[in-house]
Symmetry: C2
Amino acid sequence: MKTDVQIAQETVLEPIAAVAQSLGIDETEYEPYGRDKAKLSLGLLDRLAGRPDGKLVLVTAINPTPAGEGKTTTNVGLAMALNRIGRRAITTLREPSMGPCFGVKGGAAGGGYAQVLPMEDINLHFTGDMHAIGAAHNLLAALIDNSIYQGNPLNIDPQRVELRRVVDMNDRALRDIVVGLGRRVDGVPRQSGYDITVASEIMAVLCLATGFEDLKARLGRIIPAYTYDQEPVTVEQLGATGAMALLLKDAIKPNLVQTTENTPAIIHGGPFANIAHGCNSVLATRMGLKLADYTVTEAGFGADLGAEKFLDIVCPSAGFAPDAVVLVATIRALKFNGGLAKDDLDAENLTALDEGMANLEQHLDNLAKYGVPVVVAINAFPADTAAETDLVRERCAELGVRAITSTVFTEGGAGGVELAEAVVELCERPGEFAPIYDSESSLRGKIEMVAREIYRADGVDYTPEARRQLERLSAQGFDDLPVCIAKTQYSFSDDATLLGAPRGFTIGLRELSVRAGAGFVVALAGDIMTMPGLPKQPAALGMDIDQEGRITGLS
Amino acid sequence: MKTDVQIAQETVLEPIAAVAQSLGIDETEYEPYGRDKAKLSLGLLDRLAGRPDGKLVLVTAINPTPAGEGKTTTNVGLAMALNRIGRRAITTLREPSMGPCFGVKGGAAGGGYAQVLPMEDINLHFTGDMHAIGAAHNLLAALIDNSIYQGNPLNIDPQRVELRRVVDMNDRALRDIVVGLGRRVDGVPRQSGYDITVASEIMAVLCLATGFEDLKARLGRIIPAYTYDQEPVTVEQLGATGAMALLLKDAIKPNLVQTTENTPAIIHGGPFANIAHGCNSVLATRMGLKLADYTVTEAGFGADLGAEKFLDIVCPSAGFAPDAVVLVATIRALKFNGGLAKDDLDAENLTALDEGMANLEQHLDNLAKYGVPVVVAINAFPADTAAETDLVRERCAELGVRAITSTVFTEGGAGGVELAEAVVELCERPGEFAPIYDSESSLRGKIEMVAREIYRADGVDYTPEARRQLERLSAQGFDDLPVCIAKTQYSFSDDATLLGAPRGFTIGLRELSVRAGAGFVVALAGDIMTMPGLPKQPAALGMDIDQEGRITGLS
């Protein structure tokens, strides 16, 4: 089979003007970025405010494994398949981070015949949103250090600057740094570091904002530092809101592109799914709901992280109620969850598969608690056997859930027609969506609800520091915010090695901090890496481009 | 008078497609970025290879002062005026750095009625070139630290990594940092720092590249580090050339915009004018020469830095021979050069003006050595008196040079008609351009030639370190490269306080290093700041944008 970049470069794209026109978007409501990308004006939402929303479909997955799940591929393929069966569909996706692209992961724009295009742009700078977010973040960081240096009128404690700097690069050497060295005129020395841009609170803010004024209000509420008296210092107090908003004036506009079958795709924003909520922007999804009959969106990592955050943070905040959920799994990943080693996944193994199904079943059981109908998509791999596929189908059927094989990677939309028909059927059922917790319950109550009901932990162990922070956050009036639990994506527990559906564990809660702009409290369960490193053989070393623009090594 | 941003937002722009069409650019030869910006394909140069070049006009200035000179304003106004008198003209300019925009300086896209538009985009992210250059640079930095961490196969000495990281922000706290702190898995600790992106060698490489293959060849030659044995380590050896070129695939394309009078403008690249050569890209200028009868380009800082580098580095490398030079001066700046305090510049003072003319005269005398005809543009300010203007005119006439008042800031192109006519007349004279030194003379010979002939120093004092580096660079075969002398822009000397036309000084040469990709040797004369800081009241704090996109505080 051809490589992703070969398929991408051979696909004939429609002019983006034609894609926009097919959605009824007026010429004044978008700006082209090249011939096959466009930014959509927020005015579009004002014009369409009265139009009823289409159906909202969330694509999520079992816990990720090194075996690969194909969530984005399934999302893209499903949208294409919906169009094939005569339903007007849009896929909405997160913007990939450039950093991992040069490391191990390669691209993140789907794969095979189910990609969003132009993949080489989407995987790199795209329309500049990631850089704009980085610039707004780093301007704030520079203004804080400058304020400390220029007489410190806000009484900021240099040891309590919580904002780090960001760059969209995997660069381990920047995790822990000391800034402000040199002479007196070179600033005030203090320990700090860099995160990858997708970990910036400004990314989360942009993705949760419902409009430009809301964006500014959220930016202004961010608390990047505390005073010597431990009082919060906000962006508004620093006077940085306007300049940061100015830097985000284009980044706030969702990006229109298309799939390998010319299905419209809106790609916008891409926050981490551990320390942030892991979903594309609310504005992108809202545009999808207004422009199409079906909007297929996606949440990061497995359903315990991404879907939980979509359902408990994004939906209540944006007023979304999903009509159906697609849970993506692969036979390989299920066998890995059943304890099989990575090198043995190509051979049929019904015992390991049977064992690994526990992971999928717990996700199904969890999703049922939200009152949203679910279908399982088995993303097909060549080594899957009929007996394995049957086993998954039967076990799902026992829970009243259909499991449908998807071959969109090799066949495009045609490989997702059965899945699309099932999704349409699910969307006709009356909605009973509700988040897992009430916003009125305490932060502690919310954390324990998720730990018990989703992770199936016996309880939560707080460090003394976490206990103090819980009390302080309650006292500061943040009890109403939802919680964003950051833990490993590889397990329901906080131990990456506990695969399947572990029991008899507790969640260790290390630290809490408020993201007052984004509007959630981050609860760290374990060591979360916010600045990845490059591997021994970075993917970057295999990349090239020639004079004619032919790209190699990007997948 | 209205503010720059008011004038900018009130101007009716032509669709960029119409601007491209007016230049005979085919629809396949550009990509729109929004409605009023476009990237020009390099294929354009292949198609027009056989077309004869138009005239090339360089705009430079006396030594900059806090009083303001208006070089970009004059450049833009001259191009508009040339069009008014029936000559097809294009202005080519450097892309402004975003960092200073949030500090003191404000925007850098001309001023008043002689601006390039959309100024709010040009001054901020524009089409993303600056961020792309930063990303390519920082990818290289990450790959170097990763190589050291992953067993150091290239034997890189962590204390001899010359490449710093870059960001397009004024952030003094990043000047001197220690990276790689933390645990073993967080990398190898070493001292480093950040420069502002315009100081990156990759910026200089992009601006001197003559095409995509040349860009890659130059990237591959960059020497970011040395081994423990002091042997150069190149980008090619690191295997980073392809990925860096991939990140620059769009940044290498010049950007088409327009002026306040819809005159085409190509804005591309913006290297520092001290540690780099300070001119827009060779590709932008070359496109101008093929598309228009007159291309008005510009060099950074005063003529001792920017014009010298344009004439001695850029022209020989790109094969350009300028047809005329416009030397911009203001009465205010000349009086400042004559010793008047900044607060006294509004009152007529013929004595100070007479004294300050020494600065202008030395620049005229220097430019004559290059064999290019010159005209002086007096950028008019309200407080200028007739007696002052007459004095400048008469003194210039004694040297056989016309001095013409330009009022393009308040009147647009109409205020530059006399200047445009003079430029057209100069361009008819036969060209006798030659650089000040031969490429065959030694690095030392080149440095001393510029010091003697341009700065009028009595000699050059080398530090022992500089002496050693000179010998090493000669031994490594870099004697053929031109020299890029980095000194203060405020004086002909290396002492910023010596205004006018100082004599009886020597130039202190502190350090040399090779920019093997850009193709020059940087010679540092004095302390050159490559990472600016923010002032006590950063301009950022006065900026805002509302829901309708109305911007305030950007000038």
